[in-house]
């Protein structure tokens, strides 16, 4: 039997020994101990295992390319580019059809309200507020998700994603985070809420929190349209028309890379401050490549991911639409509440290269990122309801001619959209996953301060250098 006192002294002794090791060496020791076990296993297996006959190991050959030191990352970026391009191009058409269909329903609803003799405010609140925002979210979000998620699931089924994790593992390890964070980050491209849920695959609570907190630095489907429209309008405008879309996609890829860089930097910062600790080992089993089961993929990605995420988005977007309508249609001294608020925020917005209306749109767009641009346009034209940007020319007219946007404004908006707080749906998910108000609040404030810092520095630097 042991005296109770012995565990106190044991603990002290262990702490003392543990503390006496230099921190840098601890990580190296960890790797070397694991390395010792692995090389023993390799040596023994090499002795006792033999293969009869020769078989070409295709998996090994493919892996030599996909996870190679020099080709791994470029191939990965290329695949990402292809998936994005397919999503953006493919989503355009169904998005238009859905939009026109849903806006036709709006006309029918309006007719019904008129027939029933309903008061104008009721019609405005329900149709122009709640229903329109619902239509926006569905028409903008559903098609990209319906394309992106199956594509992503195909990659998953092929067995490519574990290779991505393998390629990025060293970057995340260096940042003190878990290699699997590269997987949850990739999920964030579809939807940050889905990305946050996928963080369950990371076992260590510390590293899971890092992955949850930094997930929103990856532009989701809701923000991609904003980024694409703005980059086409401003960045693509400087080159010949035939290269416009290519230049615009390059800007978007650049923004994605910025998001990944910020993810790594912030992960590093978190491991040095709030979430101190060592990265944990994980053995990543690179599964054999398999032929994807197309039928199952479609069902699984549509039911498990698309509808699930869309359902949550709709729940948040409907009340937000109603609220926006109220703000835009409640007048004090001939100015709507929205305009009052925008005027109040204006000087602060100017410091960040933006203006009061833009900040107001970001605040009102908290429930769902895809309604930021519509809300902004709505407040610009003061039409009282959201307008659909019918063509790029009309948009250009509203932004540049009437409201004096420059490339700096566009870049600031894109960077702010990339880095600012996660949308309401994601925050709700973060709360459900962490069960902690504190971490949800940090997930809101931490990206916000990063966004403010980046846009402020960019704007001041550009003005100091006389670029804008």
């Amino acid at each position: 039997m042991y005296q109770v006192s012995s565990h106190g002294s044991l603990n002290n002794a262990l702490d003392e020994i543990y503390g006496s090791l230099p921190p840098e060496e601890k990580n190296a020791l960890r790797d070397r101990i694991a390395g010792g076990i692995y090389s023993s296993a390799e040596r023994i297996a090499g002795k006792v295992v033999s293969r009869k006959g020769k078989q070409i190991n295709w998996d090994q050959k493919i892996d030599d390319v996909l996870t190679s030191r020099c080709l791994g990352i470029p191939v990965m970026l290329l695949l990402l580019g292809v998936v994005l391009w397919l999503t953006v191009t493919g989503a355009n058409y169904p998005s238009q059809i859905l939009a026109s269909g849903l806006f036709r329903i709006e006309d029918i609803l309006t007719g019904l309200f008129v027939q029933a003799g309903a008061p104008a405010w009721l019609h405005g609140l329900l149709v122009e507020g709640a229903y329109l925002s619902l239509a926006w979210v569905v028409s903008v979000m559903l098609p990209p998700m319906a394309i992106f998620f199956p594509l992503f699931t195909i990659m998953e089924d092929l067995g490519y994603l574990p290779r991505v994790a393998f390629n990025l593992d060293k970057f995340f390890r260096r940042a003190g985070a878990h290699g699997k964070q590269s997987l949850t980050m990739s999920m964030g491209f579809g939807c940050n809420a889905a990305g946050v849920i996928s963080c369950r695959i990371i076992e260590s609570p510390r590293e899971r929190l890092i992955a949850v907190l930094t997930n929103s630095f990856i532009p989701c489907n809701g923000r991609f349209p904003t980024l694409i429209i703005l980059s086409t309008l401003f960045m693509g405008g400087t080159v010949a028309a035939s290269f416009r879309s290519a230049a615009a996609s390059l800007v978007v890829v650049g923004l994605v890379l910025t998001g990944i860089t910020v993810t790594l930097l912030v992960s590093r910062l978190l491991t040095k401050t709030l979430l101190r600790g060592e990265p944990s080992f994980f053995i990543l089993e690179l599964p054999p490549y398999r032929k994807p089961q197309v039928g199952r993929i479609i069902i699984r990605s549509v039911l498990d991911r698309t509808l699930f995420v869309l359902g949550r988005a709709v729940v948040v977007a409907v009340p937000a639409g109603a609220l926006t309508w109220i703000l835009a249609n409640t007048f004090i001294n001939d100015l709507s509440l929205l305009s009052h608020a925008a005027g109040f925020l204006d000087s602060f917005g100017r410091l960040l290269g933006m203006d009061g209306f833009i900040l107001m749109a970001f605040i009102l767009g908290l429930p769902a990122n895809e309604i930021v641009l519509p809300i902004l346009l709505m407040s610009y034209v003061s039409a009282g309801t959201m307008v659909e940007p019918e063509s790029l020319a009309a948009l250009h007219n509203i932004l540049v001619v009437q409201n004096g946007w420059t490339w700096l404004t566009a870049l600031s908006v894109m960077l702010f959209s990339l880095l600012h707080y996660p949308c309401g749906t994601t925050l709700l998910t973060i709360f459900k996953e962490t069960r902690s108000l504190k971490w949800t609040l940090i997930a809101l404030l931490m990206p916000l301060s990063v966004a403010l810092l980046v846009t402020f520095t960019l704007t001041q630097a550009a003005r100091l250098l006389g670029l804008a």
């Binding site: 044991l10 262990l14 010792g36 053995i283």
Partner: protein, 264 residues
């Protein structure tokens, strides 16, 4: 030990018949990587005599079952499937703490014969904690189909513990596995695990730490292993050790508290 020998001298009695000597109840832990057919081995050995629940305070499923072999009563505890025992996850911590603190009479590590190298990592780690290990080289049927040969004798002498080649799906050689379990439990086979030799700097550090902590580490725990965990910065072992010392090292330490329930 005397009791044990007495039982062994009796004529071996077949599987499901209840042994007369209720005192001989041995605990066997079943460890292994995921997808090695660990559950198949568990089901094949215990049949319908199973009890499932959760590990105390963890949302990790725990399964226990009984089997009778050579007139002895064995309780088989299915540990979560893990690739290592570095305690990165709840699963790994549960598996490690069970092997380490509940001290089963034998730990069986189920391995996949088609990818032995990866599976050996876990075997080597288990052998660092306890010498009473039996390696179950499973999925031999699949290895044969893939034309992979494993020299079982050589593997056994390399590791210093018994290795039994099985194909649990068809029940092949499971009786040999039970024989080996009993042999190691009863001490008839004396295992001498070949431990991993780390590079000289780590070995020196380990020796230094081992010297300091060996008077403090409770008996039955391997000080070398504790020293290694401290070196790789695993704080969770300190917590587990503390809890173990606080709650007493008697056999009803809470890892085993469900055992009584399950036998009734």
């Amino acid at each position: 030990m005397a009791l044990l020998n007495l039982a062994c001298s009796k004529k071996s009695c077949r599987n499901r018949s209840v042994p007369q000597n209720q005192f001989l109840r041995l605990t066997v832990a079943l460890a292994g990587n995921p997808n090695t057919g660990k559950s198949t081995v568990f089901n094949a050995l215990t049949g319908l005599s199973q009890h499932t629940g959760n590990w105390p305070g963890k949302t990790v499923q725990r399964a226990e079952g009984n089997f009778y072999h050579r007139n002895k009563h064995f309780t088989l505890v299915d540990l979560p499937g893990t690739y290592s025992l570095f305690a990165n996850s709840v699963d790994e911590q549960v598996a490690r703490d069970y092997i380490c603190f509940a001290r089963p009479d034998v730990t069986v590590v189920v391995t996949d014969a088609t990818c032995l190298e990866r599976n050996l990592n876990l075997v080597l780690q288990v052998m660092e904690i306890t010498p009473k290990v039996v390696v179950c080289l499973n999925l031999m049927d699949e290895a044969e189909r893939k034309k992979i040969c494993v020299d079982v004798e050589l593997l056994s002498s390399e590791l210093g513990v018994p290795v039994v080649a099985t194909a649990a799906r068809s029940g092949r050689c499971l009786d040999k596995l039970m024989d080996a379990i009993d042999d190691v439990a009863s001490g008839r086979i004396k295992t001498s695990p070949r431990l991993v030799a780390y590079d000289s700097e780590i070995e020196q550090l380990v020796q230094k730490i081992e010297l300091k902590i060996s008077p403090l580490v409770p008996e039955g725990l391997n000080p070398r292993w504790v020293a290694l965990r401290l070196l790789d910065g695993d704080r969770s072992i300190i917590d587990s050790l503390q809890r173990y010392l606080r709650e007493g090292k008697n056999s009803s330490f809470h890892w085993g508290e469900e055992r009584a329930l399950c036998i009734r």
